[in-house]
């Protein structure tokens, strides 16, 4: 690990001015940044520890039922809170399907949104990677594409965004609150992450020195709480990144889909909101046909790995089907898994 200066500001203003200095990186839970510093993919000269900034480690409910979650709230705290899980069950399930209990205790909500791709070639400083070293090339292009993007990639980068949380946030129309030298601003989560295009190195809209201070979930997003699922396919039953994942949210009125949300993970360089599929579902009956058509629409234009595309379609349809059946009373024992997670043998 490259030597660095360690700064632990106590106030937001101080953090922002320290964070704006060249070579700085913000340290929150550390579960992604420290890992990348160990592999050598990240070599910051200054670490600005934001864990002590006041007020960022709590959440508050708006009068309208919306939720504002401070960036330093730990993943497990948000997921385990019964009120949050009741209003936004797909977010709780997404959070609990990710990583491990230990990592969720350390990882923060803001940090989760900021996490880097898990592309091997990005984490390995000896491989060409345009995202880490612009212009170096993309080693992923010639490799087995199973773990890479089938939507939204470019010749410069086909890395996927690894977050489970962000797939739920994208479907929930979450808003990212950002503080920077110029003051406060906000952006929809779906606009926060960038597609690679020719310059994958800037993977988010954050300018140097800017900092996520909160995530906002609008009250309307809680309207999907009765029909909300997050499903995740992976190569082991738990503690694995998604091969493909999906958040499905439905509002069903009088047997008809009044509103649908669908977002996919593991398939694109950003959490992938499938708006075309949503449009098809609006006003449709919540049945297999509708869901199959929506799934086709969600993967429209996908390329790179046929089996993965098939899987993604099937998973999208399944997530919609499960959502239509209704949100489980409690996050399942195996969150996000298609396996039941019922109490089995000892």
């Amino acid at each position: 690990m490259k030597p660095f200066d360690y700064i632990r500001p106590e106030r937001l203003g101080q953090a922002l001015s320290e964070g704006a200095k060249p070579g700085s990186a913000y340290l929150a839970g550390g579960t992604n940044l420290l890992d990348l510093m160990k592999t050598g993919a990240a070599r910051p000269e200054r670490l600005v520890d934001i864990t002590r900034l006041p007020g960022l480690d709590r959440w508050e409910w708006g009068k309208d039922g919306g939720l504002r979650i401070g960036a330093m709230v730990r993943n497990s705290d948000a997921a385990h809170d019964p009120d949050i899980a009741a209003a936004f069950p797909a977010m709780a399930e997404a959070l609990l399907s990710g990583a491990s209990g230990q990592l969720r205790n350390a990882a923060t909500m803001g940090g989760n949104v900021m996490q880097q791709t898990r592309c091997h070639f990005f984490a390995d400083p000896f491989s060409p990677c345009n995202r880490r070293a612009p212009g170096a090339g993309c080693a992923a292009q010639g490799s087995d594409r199973r773990g890479f993007a089938v939507l939204g990639g470019s010749d410069a980068c086909i890395a996927t965004h690894p977050s489970d949380l962000c797939v739920a946030l994208a479907a929930l129309d979450a808003v990212v609150e950002i503080a920077g030298p110029e003051g406060l601003r906000e952006t929809p989560l779906t606009d926060f992450h960038l597609l690679p295009g020719t310059g994958p190195e800037g993977h988010t809209r954050l300018a140097p020195g800017e900092l996520i201070i909160a995530l906002r979930l609008p009250a309307a997003a809680a309207g999907f709480r009765h029909h909300a699922r997050y499903l995740k396919l992976r190569d082991r039953t738990s503690f694995a990144f998604a091969l493909v994942s999906a958040t499905a949210l439905l509002r069903i009125e009088d047997g008809v889909i009044a509103e649908a949300r669908l977002a996919l993970g593991g398939v694109a360089p950003k959490p992938w909101r499938a708006t075309a599929a949503e449009a098809l579902l609006q006003g449709a009956r919540p049945d297999a046909d509708s869901f199959a058509r929506a799934a086709e629409a969600a993967l429209q234009g996908a390329a790179g790995h046929d089996a993965k595309i098939t899987l993604a379609k099937r998973l999208a349809a399944r997530a919609l089907t499960q959502a239509a059946r209704g949100t489980p009373a409690r996050v399942p024992a195996l969150p996000g898994s298609v396996h039941s997670g019922e109490t089995a043998h000892v």
Binding site: G101, F239, T343
Partner: protein, 163 residues
């Protein structure tokens, strides 16, 4: 430039001076404080062998920068048994043979203590399996681990009810 941090480790407050901000909590415990019960299996948060309690919550010490935890209360495997008595989780791991080589065992046990404190899994073996999935046991003593955590959960629940 040296940094000073205050930690309470296994109930004892201590001041630690670090000449290097790169030191992780895991390397601080093992290489500088010689509390070697906590193990390094991957150093990247992928195996759970380094699990300790930080302010009562289970975490991977390998992905915790020591300086960032100034002021924290740390409990390691060395601090779990009290007054010569094994913690119920420790005793249950022996009884159910929730170990083989033993290398992941301190992390498994600290993770189990944290899991039980989180009160999410209860006595559901499937939730225990999921909750313990951040701790890899290459010997694969998982059946014994699950049985041990179940038993310890019951013991601790009974203790709490009596208290």
């Amino acid at each position: 430039m040296s940094h000073t941090l205050n930690l309470t480790i296994n109930g004892t407050a201590q001041e630690v001076t670090l000449d290097d901000p790169r030191v992780t909590l895991l390397d601080l415990l093992r290489e500088r404080l010689h509390l070697t019960g906590t193990k390094k299996g991957c150093d990247r948060g992928q195996c759970g062998a380094c699990t300790v309690l930080v302010n009562g919550r289970r975490m991977n010490a390998c992905l915790a920068l020591a300086l960032s935890h100034d002021g924290a209360e740390i409990t390691t495997i060395e601090g779990l048994a009290q007054g010569g008595e094994l913690h119920p989780v420790q005793a249950a791991f022996i009884e159910h043979d929730g170990m083989q080589c033993g290398y992941c065992t301190p992390g498994q046990i600290m993770s189990a203590v944290g899991l039980i404190a989180e009160a999410q899994a209860g006595a559901d073996p499937e939730r225990i399996r999921e909750g313990m999935s951040g701790n890899i046991c290459r010997c694969a003593a998982y059946a014994g681990i699950t049985a041990a955590v179940l038993q310890a959960t019951e013991t601790l629940t009974e203790e709490a009810e009596r208290a």
